[in-house]
């Protein structure tokens, strides 16, 4: 262990330390109103974490006995995660105030959840991934049920917890099976486990896949891999484990819903990308492809149809997150092909970043329009919004157009990227089904736009005071447009030539 190692793992460490500091500051201060200072402190640590990630640069480096690996993609995702945490803390400052909820613990949980997500993102060993995902999930359970006074929030927490714990068990069994199968295969073929590596290390798994003939199709490994992939996809809110996502997003306070939806996706999809990189080009039979295609199409269809006739806008965003999870999985699918891999990783990364911005913004609008701390959840509450609060209506309209993938918003470019990757990987009919799904989704989003602009309403002006959410929503909307028109300036270059796992070669592992 040396400074380089600490630096590589610095981003989550800073977030975790920030969590502790924020918590202790809150405990130490007598006054109940430490709102500004606590927010400031939390954001300071987020920025420090971003800087720490940024200074790592794009080259690949492993640390902590190959337990973690950091490269361009991981750096990007870590910066994104820290940004999401900072924005969530800003956006929820007023909600906390109006709910009289404990603030220090709230900020600490957000920072710690992000720390867990970062550990997951950078982990090269599935053990670290597992610990990271659990830190994130346990914090999520608490955050989802944070508004204990409200039955819906409690229920969201309970459902999320039961489902999450169940899936964690499946994830663990997957890891156990991978551990066993890799170990047995390497042992049977006389391959040595290199010093410092474990059987759960992605590099070791990759070595087994690429150097042991027939290992990629061995049932023990495939069962483990499918369990691992499926449960990680649940953590990202993909069907068929989607049923809690709309419930949780509806029940949780809006900024938290945005946080849950985005952080979980960023973290889970990044580790999936890493896992898929080593599967690329390997003979794993059809099983993984079939599972991934099935999950992706199921999510796209379930998500878009589920969104179609919602009365609650947070549920709508919940279903929308399921559908968008499906599109991201399609991109991941393309990353299984060796030729389309680079394009697919770029497309998926861009998709995740864009989705994060859009979703955080959408939930911020819901909080912005809320009254007395209650989110503006019913879609009927948006009727005639264009006349009452044009700014909010346009902001939400931009997000909805972006979610439906209309040109000149970032949603179009993300979809374009994923479809390009997918079609170049040869998934034509998959793309067509996905297109049909997005046409259904279009209707769901248009309904809200129609309610806002096209329907007259007698509702009175809502006096919203949530300036923080407004700030977040408006800046996110600006980003959505800017990235939709000039993405090359904004983001695309940083994704060039990202690697997700160290290349497998004999020397690398020895």
């Amino acid at each position: 262990m040396n400074f380089g190692d600490i630096h590589a793992a610095g981003a989550p460490i800073l977030m975790a330390v920030g969590g502790c500091v924020v918590l202790l500051t809150d405990l130490a201060s007598k006054r109940s109103d430490t709102r500004k200072f606590g927010t400031f402190l939390a954001i300071l640590f987020c920025i420090a974490s971003m800087l720490c990630s940024y200074t790592l640069g794009g080259q690949l480096r492993t640390a902590f006995s190959n337990g973690i690996a950091v490269e361009g993609l991981v750096v990007t995702m870590q910066i994104l995660l820290a940004a999401i945490a900072a924005v969530t803390i800003v956006a929820s400052s007023e909600i906390l105030q109006s709910f009289h909820l404990p603030k220090g613990e709230y900020r600490a949980l957000i920072l710690l959840a992000s720390a867990g997500a970062m550990v997951l993102v950078q982990s090269l060993d599935l053990v670290n991934a597992f610990v990271g995902i659990e830190i994130m999930s346990v914090a999520f359970y608490v955050l989802a049920g944070y508004r204990r006074a409200q039955a819906a929030s409690e229920e969201a927490g309970a459902k999320y917890f039961l489902m999450g714990a169940f899936v964690s068990a499946i994830l663990l069994f997957g890891i156990a099976l991978i551990y066993g199968s890799v170990g047995l295969a390497m042992k049977a073929n006389g391959l040595e486990l290199p010093q410092g590596y474990s059987f759960t290390n992605i590099v070791t798994i990759s070595k087994a896949i690429h150097q042991v003939p027939g290992f990629g199709t061995s049932p023990l490994f495939l069962l483990g891999a499918v369990m691992l992939i499926g449960s990680l996809m649940f953590k990202a809110g993909v069907a068929p484990f989607h049923m809690v996502a709309p419930d949780v997003y509806q029940g949780a306070p809006a900024p938290i819903a945005g946080f849950l939806a985005t952080t979980s996706k960023v973290a889970a999809f990044t580790i999936l990308m890493r896992f898929f990189t080593i599967l690329a080009g390997a003979d794993t039979g059809a099983a993984i492809n079939v599972v991934v295609i099935g999950l992706a199409l199921l999510s796209i269809i379930v998500g878009n149809t589920g969104a179609a006739n919602q009365k609650s806008i947070k549920r709508l965003f919940g279903y929308s997150s399921v559908a968008h999870g499906g599109y991201i999985v399609l991109g991941l699918l393309a990353s299984l092909g060796t030729e389309s891999q680079a394009a697919a990783i770029t497309a998926v990364t861009f998709y995740i970043v864009a989705y994060a911005i859009t979703t955080i913004g959408s939930f911020a609008v819901v909080a912005w329009l809320g009254k007395d701390g209650e989110d503006a959840d019913a879609i009927s509450a948006y009727r005639g919004l264009g006349k009452r609060n044009l700014g909010a209506a346009i902001t939400l309209g931009i997000f909805l157009l972006s979610l439906s993938g209309i040109p000149l918003t970032v949603g179009f470019l993300t979809k374009l990227g994923v479809f390009m990757a997918l079609l170049s990987a040869g998934g034509t009919w998959v793309a067509v089904v996905a297109l049909i799904g997005s046409a259904i989704g279009l209707y769901a989003y248009l309904r809200v736009i129609s309610e806002m602009f096209f329907v007259d309403s007698t509702q009175q002006e809502t006096s919203s005071t949530d300036g923080a959410s407004k700030l977040v929503a408006v800046s996110a909307a600006t980003l959505v447009i800017v990235m939709g028109v000039f993405p090359s300036q904004a983001l695309l270059p940083s994704f060039e030539a990202s690697v997700t796992a160290p290349p497998v070669s004999g020397d690398e592992v020895k």
């Binding site: 006995s65 337990g67 404990p102 346990v138 608490v142 049932p219």
Partner: protein, 187 residues
């Protein structure tokens, strides 16, 4: 070979604990009374601890008994008592159905899963050197030497586990703490 393996001393031990584990596990799934289900889970944990012993994992067997069966299950029992669920819900209307479902799905699904997963997987016996490497690996010393070795990947995860427990503590405090909204105090 299979029968022989089971009829040896170690085999009988395995057989005993395996049957106990499955039986108590089944009871966890089918018993209506939460209290009894929790006690069955304790038995299950003990049986699995016995299996750990047969695998030379002495330390973990101890941890299993002390932490799992001792602490975690006590927490469960405490919550069941707290919520007064001890004899609640004695409705046994579809108990038989549940027993069948649970048993058949466990045997069916588990058997299917193992049949699929172990297809073509040769019977792996203990390696010849297992007595050497295995004897110390399960002890406190052996575990400690591996877990805290900075040249092995476990230390990093171990350190992060402390943050996991911190999150759990914060969560428990938040969830169990006094409700701050005055109007909700009556609830």
């Amino acid at each position: 070979m299979t029968l022989q393996a089971l009829l040896s001393g170690q085999g009988l031990m395995f057989l005993f604990f395996a049957v106990a584990a499955i039986a108590s596990g089944l009871l966890v799934v089918i018993l209506q009374n939460p209290l009894r289900a929790a006690l069955s889970l304790v038995i299950n944990l003990f049986s699995v601890a016995g299996l750990y012993l047969s695998l030379n994992a002495y330390f973990l067997a101890t941890v299993q008994v002390i932490v799992y069966a001792g602490a975690i299950m006590v927490l469960f029992l405490f919550v069941i008592m707290l919520l007064n669920m001890g004899q609640a819900n004695l409705n046994t209307s579809y108990r038989g159905v549940r027993t069948i479902i649970a048993f058949s799905s466990a045997i069916g699904f588990g058997g299917l899963m193992s049949a699929v997963a172990l297809k073509g997987q040769p019977d792996v016996m203990l390696p010849a050197d297992a007595m050497v490497t295995g004897s110390s690996a399960g002890s406190v010393e052996g575990i400690g030497k591996v877990l805290y070795n900075p040249n092995l990947p476990w230390l990093f995860a171990f350190e992060w586990t402390s943050f996991l427990l911190l999150v759990a503590v914060i969560g428990a405090v938040v969830l169990a703490g006094k409700r701050q909204q005055p109007s909700e105090d009556k609830a």
